[in-house]
Symmetry: D2
Subunit: 338 residues, 4 copies
């Protein structure tokens, strides 16, 4: 951590910083420049110390953190790639894993049709929402427990693991008793009560990036899961909020190489929620595979015109099959397979 | 709702839109332009219908919502200003209400000293966090239940109502048994499980704006509270995430007149979390009062240098007293008082 | 254009809108809803009319534009893909065109070494800045006219067309007398005096997207070039400004399919300025090719450690050669070649 | 400047950084932490050195700038407030200066009526655009030279100084021969050819903030003007681009105290371009005065319904008079006058 003193800061003010640092067990090195004094604070946990502790002292101009605030999710903490296992499917290895299915579980027919079709086209995991976080209280909120039961039936009958979202910290046990993997949605990335309970459950989990959270905040949120002992964590980039209005969210393609550099956790991409429109999904999906994503989370619906939620961003079964055929050679051209 | 057909859309495609609209009980009016056909959908609930329902139909280029998605929070629904009562203090009337106190409850001494001082300087409500949502699991998480007990003691001994944050839907009953008013934090603005439970509690609530949520989304989140029958809702602008890096968040000053135009709910401003630095708090606080805010939520700490959370943005007791003196003539110059 | 009247707008207010529309030669259709009256304005040039003309009338709540404000750049205006020719190299066809070279022309040796190497590795066009727009007046501003002369020498000796930036409207003639193609930089995307002169020159031009401009604004800026009769326009996505701080700019990957849908102009991608760090360039470059870009603009420097400008984002010659080898199979997997 | 080495960086890599620093005449201090080595670079011009010079060296993890990149605009360079004189009106003193008038000069009648009215209501300087930067080539581009002549007439006949925008570097002499003060618009804040020529002219200038530029970039752009010897520079905050869609731009109210802390230059606010709607202008204008702005730039039109440009954000003459009456007591309550 680097503490920049104000021009003309007194010796007593510099001493105040030094003493505060020593009281925290930190090493200190003074850099007396021509215009300013800069104090470097040294120690292995400076990433987790609040900068305010020093910024608030008299004579301090600014405090800059050099160490990252996340720890357990960092590649420095664990250099080798992590792999996550969801119902026997490994994520983070050579294979690029495709997770597909409808945004919301709507009925047995809808879910079974989708599940059979996506499995046939090469998807390894089925997605479907039972608890739906909706911006308006007047929108369809999901089938809830009945939706979980349908997911469990699909898993049994079709033979495909399932992932579904959990939105209430007190539902973690319930949802993980039906699903192979939990999903924490974008709006809950910093719902720390939820993260703590999901961490305790040890159930594999997809942690979606908050749509206005930095990659640093995302990896720090992953630390909540890891700190509770759950090492089965997958990151999912799903678009960030920007000024651009031709898409719902702008997919942050550079998040993939940045996460790969900074963290050992697998990272997948959800092109559907980013784009908000089915016609844009294939281009984004292909880009994600080329950029190094470990998987894709794609919305597919047997009949998007009748979908209760997010029909516009769902691929039809036929379009999904076409996309899978297009993705395979791209995966090969980056040394992987689907 | 306005459905723009693609150039050259067929009659069958236009008919498809018309029939979908009629199946939803909507009126329809066709506008056949020189280049395009535009279909206007008429009805009193078009704000709550998903646009995807039409956007997904063949031949459709775009769908534009004319009605707002929020309803109960809108000024059209309730033209007169709402007032909220917190422990006998009215918010939304002629008086501008000052809520002040430390970011986190740290100890009995700290809280009592802060409470006495802010009351003496003219604050009407005491703030203090017992459950703290922190970006890192390694940071101080608040005194939790012990913090609630200290808040209740402060209320009794100093005679000032208290507001504190609730972060878990299952803690609503507990927290509201200690506090006069609940706070839903910025990161929980779209935690719909929490909103639903806070709505059911009927306890007065401060709903902070999500730091990357539009005003429309904020008012739609307020609908979750109002739909459960809780009409004691105060909105709080606390800064939004932008590219500017000289502050933690950019206070959206125009949110005040926009909310006043669009909604009947009172709106207050938190200059402390926006600025992130105590030296910027007074200018933002003064601007908020001049722009028409119904109140301010200000962090004040007896000893910011020793604060466990957010010390840099906290005013000292002396600085808070000075600011209160500066705010009073501004309040008068806009026809109100503090 | 859709004009939404306020709830309770009077007949006279509605008539005011109708008359204004008729005075502009527009057709009008009234939609009297249960709550509101909505007036649809019909005509072939509503995209170019200012919405303010109606928004300012009494009784109007909002005005929504249905037609896009750009015209000549739109795919509706010209359905077939445009192709641009730069010194005999065609952009916008089956071949993905690689433009590479140093950020700034620094010396004859540096430019010749870079030019030979990038040509050998498969680049078709050489880039190099002679006039450099720099955020600080104390930074290196480019070799200016001497730089143009070196570019012309490189073209002659190495046999490769060159593209370089123009920053002053009165330098267009000078720069286009040396270069095969002009570049309008991100900070000049809305420098309309410059666009007008570049449009008049009829010289092929790469129009970089303003780092905080929407795709709609970008295509409307292209209309400035096209309206002056210059149809040799290439669009270049180079990253947009967001809150994310791990990169200089966030490459907007979805801009590629959106532009392809909305416009007939070729679109290329500059991964170097977006990333700001050489280690991120390959992943973004691969993603751009997979997403459908017609070309790439990549910074390559014989010795990035000694580069006067943007060394951190420049690939070494060896890294560029490796990247070219990796890009080729991706191009093939999307039905194109490099 | 702080150079963080990678974990495990070799001694040779650290030496490489040290030697590079010494070759630039910088002092160096090594901080060997438990995990990492951090190298502090000391010197009075580190703010103007490119960070890439070090970031590109082997073994370097990150480079953090401590000194700001701007110099002449900084309060460290010149601690006392600067004052600017425009046709005898001083900006930056105790008086808050109101600049008002139409967005575009449209006709002699329009300009004279506006000029007389705003002067009568207390404005000190007349604004009016002759050269209009418009996003579409099909929009009204201003009266250009004829507009400048009308502005000069208004100045003579009404007795009020005038400010108008310059958009082409080669028009600086022309425009400054008619106007008392130049304006550099938001889209030209980083048009360095224009800044250089305006700097050379020594004519007073209002430098609007780029709508997606940081305050640091804004002050660095001011350095272009100051470096050419023009010390008559006024900064103007006019709203930044964010995700919020209820306004055209989000006025960054905290820019006022941040600029006051960082720079000696006067700062004014344009509430009209930020809001985009006349109904929001008064609240923002009042907030700006309360926050410490040195002046306001307000659009006023005798007949906004017939305005050729930006009618929706223009105040009527009556509304401007009312606003002036409301602003006066707020100015007094912050120790100033209008």
């Amino acid at each position: 951590m680097i503490v920049e003193m104000k021009t003309g800061a007194s010796k007593a003010e510099v001493d105040g910083v030094v003493q505060k640092a020593k009281s925290q067990g930190l090493g200190v090195q003074l850099n007396v420049g021509t215009d300013k004094t800069v104090v470097a604070l040294l120690g292995s946990n400076t990433g987790q110390l609040p900068t305010d502790m020093f910024a608030v002292l008299p004579g301090v101009e600014s405090v800059t953190r050099i160490m990252k605030p996340y720890k357990l999710a960092s590649r420095e903490f664990k250099p080798a790639d992590s792999r996550v296992s969801c119902g026997g499917v490994e994520i983070g290895g050579e294979r690029i894993v495709i997770i597909a299915g409808p945004c919301a579980v709507e009925s047995k027919e809808q879910l079974m049709e989708a599940a059979m079709a996506v499995k046939k086209s090469g998807a390894s995991i089925l997605r479907g929402g039972a608890f739906k976080p909706r911006t308006s209280p007047f929108s369809f909120q999901g089938l809830q427990k009945a939706g979980l039961e349908l997911l469990a039936q699909a898993r049994e009958q079709i033979g495909i693991p399932v992932v579904t979202e959990v939105v209430d910290p007190h539902d973690v046990e319930l949802v993980s008793s039906y699903a192979d993997m939990l999903q924490v949605g974008s709006r809950n990335m910093q719902n720390f009560a939820l993260l703590t309970n999901v961490g305790k459950s040890r159930c594999p989990v997809v942690l979606k990036r908050g749509f206005a959270c930095t990659i640093t905040e995302w990896l720090t949120a992953a630390d909540y899961l890891l700190a509770e002992g759950n090492d089965q964590v997958i990151l999912c980039e799903r678009g960030i909020r920007t000024f651009e209005d031709s898409v719902r969210f702008s997919l942050d393609i550079s998040a993939i190489p940045v996460v790969k550099k900074s963290s050992h956790l697998p990272v997948i991409v959800d092109p559907s929620h980013a784009a908000g429109h089915y016609s844009l999904v294939p281009a984004i999906a292909k880009a994600a595979v080329a950029a190094g994503a470990d998987g894709l989370l794609i919305e597919v619906h047997p009949n998007p015109k009748e979908a209760l939620v997010d029909g516009l961003q769902s691929l039809t079964l036929a379009n999904f099959t076409s996309l899978m055929a297009e993705l395979k050679p791209i995966a090969q051209s980056v040394g992987r397979y689907i």
